[in-house]
């Protein structure tokens, strides 16, 4: 008697969000099964991989990243090269130079970079802020305007600044709103409700439910995503059916395992291999837990994760 497996297909499904424009536009979400459970039902839209670039250029990047971008002198060069990275589906521009505790670049300067990048590439774009709430409110509102017509994801609107960013991105300039919460299903849902109440359609919202690197309280990330997908699919909770996008690069390359130099930890071996490993492991884990898109930075990570997705689909 052969194995009689019951299908785990759900009646509800994750919403579909399309970003970018023209032929290169991509869709995320839409599935009615758990991540990669293609044996239950086909998954229409494979998870997508984005490449993160920073307005601060390449100076702080590991050697393998620098080597990939060799010869790039302008942000336009870097953006083009990122869009062409094998395995990449989209580009994420992080405006970290705007951080008042860092370079404190003006919003105008940052918008010059946004324009330069938009003009350089035709793949979909995600625009991320500097994580300073006050600055991001101004920066991302303006970025929504500057990127008009490009259907970008604005990452992200948080509980503190969702009104301004949500209204600009989601209502005034027709972009997609990234809703960022801190690793908690209730906070994620609450923010979706709040942004919806502004009048933003669910098909214009993606969730960034918070992340950590493997080894650093990552169980909360797994359980938050597991519970969100369970609520969205088995209980048909419309306020949790937005697809999930997870920036991995920043977190993964900022832990001790990736930062400690080989001189400090000789037994740990090559530093860059450790960074790639933290990035790959974290990305694979958030994808297996339900992320519909990840944002990475190292060419090896992008190639590996994109290949893994293809193999599993």
């Amino acid at each position: 008697m052969p194995f009689n497996g019951k299908s785990g297909k759900f009646n509800a499904s994750i919403g579909t969000v399309e970003f970018g424009c023209g032929e290169k536009a991509i869709k995320i979400g839409g599935e009615n099964v758990l991540p990669f459970y293609t044996f239950d039902a086909p998954i229409e839209n494979a998870p997508k991989v984005g490449v993160m670039i920073s307005d601060l250029g390449l100076e702080a990047e590991p050697a393998g990243v620098k080597a990939y971008y060799e010869g790039c002198t302008t942000m336009a060069d870097i953006a083009k090269k990122a869009a062409a990275m094998p395995g990449a589906d989209f580009v994420c521009l992080k405006l970290e130079g705007a951080d008042p505790n860092g370079e404190n670049k003006s919003t105008e300067d940052c918008m010059t970079v946004v324009k330069e990048v938009i003009d350089a590439i035709d793949v979909p774009l995600v625009i991320a802020g500097c994580k300073n709430v006050t600055k991001d409110a101004e920066l991302l509102t303006k970025a929504s305007e500057v990127a008009q017509g490009k259907n970008v994801i604005i990452l992200a609107a948080k509980e503190e600044d969702y009104k301004g960013i949500g209204a600009a991105a989601g209502l005034a300039y027709n972009q997609k709103v990234g809703a960022e919460s801190a690793v908690d299903i209730n906070l994620a849902k609450q923010l979706n409700v709040l942004i919806s109440q502004l009048g933003v359609a669910p098909s214009n919202i993606v969730m960034h439910v918070g992340t950590a690197t493997v080894g650093y309280g990552f169980e909360y990330v797994v359980s938050t995503m597991d519970r969100i997908k369970a609520a969205a699919l088995s209980q048909n909770d419309a306020q949790l059916q937005m697809p999930i996008i997870t920036p991995v690069a920043d977190e993964a390359w900022n832990v001790k395992e990736a930062m400690a130099s080989e001189e400090d930890m000789p037994e740990w071996g090559a530093q860059e291999a450790r960074g790639v490993s933290m990035e790959v492991s974290t990305a694979a884990s958030v994808l297996a837990s339900g992320s519909n898109a990840v944002i990475l930075k190292h060419p090896t990570s992008v190639a590996t994760i994109s290949k893994m997705i293809k193999e599993l689909m």
Binding site: M1, P2, F3, N4, G5, K6, G8, F36, Y37, T38, F39, N101, T213, V214, G215, Y216, G217, F218, E219, V222, S223, D226, R227, A230, V255, K256, E257, M259, E267, W268, G269, A270, A273, R274, V276, S277, M278, V280, S281, T282, A283, A284, S285, L287, A288, S289, T300, S301, A303, T304, I305, K307, M308, E311, L312, M313
Partner: protein, 448 residues
Amino acid sequence: MALKGLDIFKHTPKTNCKECGSPTCMAFSMKVAQGAVDITKCPHISEEALAALSEATAPPMKSIKVGTGDAEYTLGGETVLARHEKTFVSKPRFAVNLTPDMDIDAVLAEANKVDYDRIGERMHAEMVYVEFTGDAAAYTEAVKKVTGKGKTIILACKDVAAAKAALDVCKAEKPILCGADASNYAEMVEVAKAAEVVLGVTGADINDLYDTTAAIEKLGYKELVLDTTGKDIKETFAITVQARRACLAKEPDRTFGYPSIVNLSKIAPNDEAMQIALASVFILKYGSIIVMDTMNYARGLALYGLRQNVYTDPQKPMKVEPGIYPLNGADENSVVLTTVDFALTYFVVSGELERSGVPCNLVISDAGGLSVLTAWAAGKLSSTSVSKFIIEEVEPKVKSRKLIIPGKVAVLKGDIEAKLPGWEVIVAPNEAVQLVKFLKDLQANGEI
């Protein structure tokens, strides 16, 4: 699924003899229904009743013990598909893939370099997976080389004679004989039974694996693991997930109620980054033994961290040992910072402190494994607990008299100063990410 206490009670002698350790037959029945005691604890239960009940009260997924001594591990025994539903219990183990043509001593020596402690847990490759490649004599030699090395051995061998010879070498170490398939299972069961070892079952696809496992169960052998490795990555994921899901379903299919072996050396050969990605997926999704080319720090730091996170009991917080942790080459004159023993807090705070490069002594006192605000609210982090720990543990060892406390418990500053004469108490920022700038500023201003 589960039987009710009353259903079990019907089969008991109802004499309240107490020989099972419970005060009444009813109490005993309730415990059996909850899975707290085994039905066989009742000495008077009839054979028939036992047969009827033990099937229905058995856990849906068996716990299988392999290896001996320090290298004995329990696999399986899971009761839920997601950790938030209850908890995962048997963490996946890592095996290094070996073939007889390799320089086995060298490969093992390389993998054994990874052996460290992370929050009280030893991290190393616990097992070896020795693959038969056609030459029985060479196989036995290879198995000899891994015997007595403190690793649980997995014999990947479908050749009955070669398997017997290999077991003669290593059966005392309770290896897994991973070699039963549709063609040889009857003989393999005999070999495994005779050597008293766990038998691994393989199949051409999920149906073949299921049928072979069912046939082996019919022969009365239930010390099994399932090799859920398929022909490629997609099939391996599909078999591994479906097998686990079937046995933990509402109507459990116990034929798939065994631990799994996933061989990444087969489905992603020589691709380290892909093996790390897939090992991460199978840590989350139902691999019990994960076979890889080797173990090194690049792999281990990520995978062991992930495994430790995911296999923590959601009801029990992870704690670090209280004590003084000198960072960035700190000595007795370096500034003292304190926070709670919740592992996540410790990792985040110590990471930021290391990034600052400022030498400091991080003092962790017992706060019940709670985060700063929770511990404070629960009375486990107070001016008394901090000052007591500083006086007893820190003052004899550290000369600095500057103490930095978490920003979230700034209210404790006055009380701590009152209880710690001679100490200057400085309040840190609210968030760990702000520590780097905070410490660098203090250092630049000559305050620490």
